[in-house]
Symmetry: C2
Subunit: 340 residues, 2 copies
DNA sequence: TTGAAAGCGTTACCAA
DNA sequence: TTGGTAACGCTTTCAA
């Protein structure tokens, strides 16, 4: 327990202690059934007793497999403000769990790193076996470069967007549709879409929104799109400015994320606009704190737990040279107090 | 660019291509000044041209150095609810940046992993060179085990708590003191401390709170401590229950985190209690969304950027067998709208 | 069911 | 300023 790293024990050392060959110890510690069960167990016990761990650098070199997956947060702006979105942490956390379950570890990185050739940096160098990118961002250039290189890759983003790599994500179009329909069924007539339609996922949500508006034969669907970055702060400012300039020209808001909804809610509350009576508002994501907003936020839930599991499955498929595919996840309306 | 991994290029291959020895290429790619500048540059160019990357598994084996740091989120409960605190993500993000700057990568893990002997799992196995633990949690058992093993270790927690390892953290006592004093100077007479005094950092904040109360000669300091877990939801319920049972027996709240403050604010707002006039409330952390709360949250800011930098410095000191130490960071009162 | 030995791709010592 | 070569610690083929 209190040993220093002088003369660290190796597989060979352990083998000598046990009076067997290194092959046997190696197999035993890897639980290889070739080795008799009793030998296996006694060697495993010996290893534990001596606090021995296989040297991963060595085994990775030998097996050409790292059992590591690089997870890259594809941040949108330079301000790394977007990292403050709790939704991303949730995805990372769930990925970590799903990876561990399959015997992989998570090497965390983000798009602001110096290196820009991700496949080369992570895969060719044997730092990781595969890459999971969270977020397509506005530019998919780097992601496509990885895909071209043939490196195992799964992306969290919008699966409806055409791509030559596997994308896992929610049914954003349906989410936007459901959200809008919910507001309509609550009696909203002039519904504002608040978000950035340039962004792949958001643009799909916007499509669903437009479709619902059209189906309900409401007017002005285009006028009522307020483009805004996906942070609370920008949403707060945009809504504040808009109301100041044009008055309360809407009675419902479809926000592209819960954080955006939070910003919008604040701007409205400061003007004593009642939620949900004057303006109903619905978010997207269902972050843990959504129900702690005041009023508790109605939202479209993304199932990050399943998403993580599926992303890992798809990546493992690629490791095994099996077919991989994009997967669309269902979304769920969570009705709370911010809508009627 | 579109090469598959058939017959991957190695250092030896590149050396042959260039007509020099492997030693030379190795040194050139590591920017070793022993090699003539021109040779170095031309070899680096050749490597880039062939999309060559050094195999890290091999160099790690050879150098006995991984250039990886394991970051362990020491979560408190089993529900992994606490991972939804944006403050933690901020710390991880800042650590990632600070590590990258020094040429290290971040292997993310959490205390729910199967393995419980962290030093063995990460260090003896050459998965990482050092460990950074975020949060002391309630039990420091696992952390102390790492410290005993002699593995390079830095902990984010409360530096005032006695420990045999390096702890970096805010001056929590001072933070609690400043927060409480601020409420007192705003005219609050019955100030509630909302948080979990069992938890190392929180207990220090509570000490500062008590001190400020005593100095101001206010009464009932003990009665006004409401023990609660560090999530919004629990805070919401606790405050709701307390007000229901005893009425509005306080006019100020010192919350142990911004998320706790969020929960408390919701409970109060639901009862039409005005913030800050009926009850002033101050948080801790200064998460990005604190200013987006309604009203914008007054809070004690923790400087995670500096913290991350210092943690990495302290860890590097240990790598270089230099002295390491615990470091206390200053905290700053950020006055917003939730207090008078 | 176990063992001997080659080899994974680097780095660094020693020599030139 | 460069090259030859051993060694890092493991896994796995082949042989016993």
């Amino acid at each position: 327990m209190s040993l220093s790293n002088e003369n660290k024990l190796t597989l060979a050392g352990l083998a000598k202690l046990a009076g067997v060959s290194t092959s046997t110890v190696s197999r035993a510690l890897n639980d290889n059934p070739l080795i008799k069960k009793e030998t296996r167990e006694s060697l495993q016990a010996l290893a534990k007793q001596h606090n021995f761990s296989l040297n991963r650098a060595a085994s990775r070199l030998r097996t050409q497999k790292t059992n590591v997956v690089a997870v890259i947060l594809n941040l949108i702006d330079d301000t790394d403000q977007s990292i403050s979105d709790p939704f991303l942490l949730k995805v990372v956390g769930d990925l970590n769990q799903a990876l561990n379950q399959k015997g992989y570890e998570l090497l965390l990185s983000n798009s602001h790193m110096a290196q820009d050739d991700w496949a080369n940096y992570f895969i060719s160098s044997s730092r990781a076996d595969g890459i999971i990118v969270i977020g397509q961002g506005k530019s998919t250039e780097q992601v496509e470069k990885v895909a071209m290189s043939g490196a195992p890759l799964v992306v969290w983003g919008d699966p409806n967007t055409k791509s030559n790599y596997a994308v896992v994500g929610s049914n954003n179009d349906l989410g936007g549709y459901k959200a809008t329909q919910h507001l309509i069924s609550g009696g909203c007539k002039r519904i504002l879409f608040l978000g950035d339609p340039e962004h792949a996922e958001m643009s799909e949500r916007h499509k669903g929104y437009s479709r619902a508006i059209k189906e309900a034969k409401l007017d002005n669907s285009n006028e009522l799109t307020l483009s805004c970055d996906i942070t609370s702060k920008v949403a707060y400012e945009k809504i504040g400015d808009a109301v100041l300039a044009k008055g309360l020209f809407f009675d419902g808001i479809v926000a592209t994320s819960d954080m955006v909804a939070l910003g919008a809610m604040k701007a409205l509350k400061e003007r004593y606009i009642n939620i949900p009576n004057d303006v109903s508002i619905i978010g997207f994501d269902d972050i843990a704190m959504a129900e702690l907003f005041h009023p508790a936020l109605t939202t479209i839930k993304q199932d990050t737990k399943s998403a993580a599991k599926i992303m890992v499955e798809q990546l493992l498929n690629q490791f095994n040279n099996q077919a991989t595919k994009s997967v669309v996840l269902d979304v769920e309306l969570i009705k709370r107090m911010s809508t009627r």
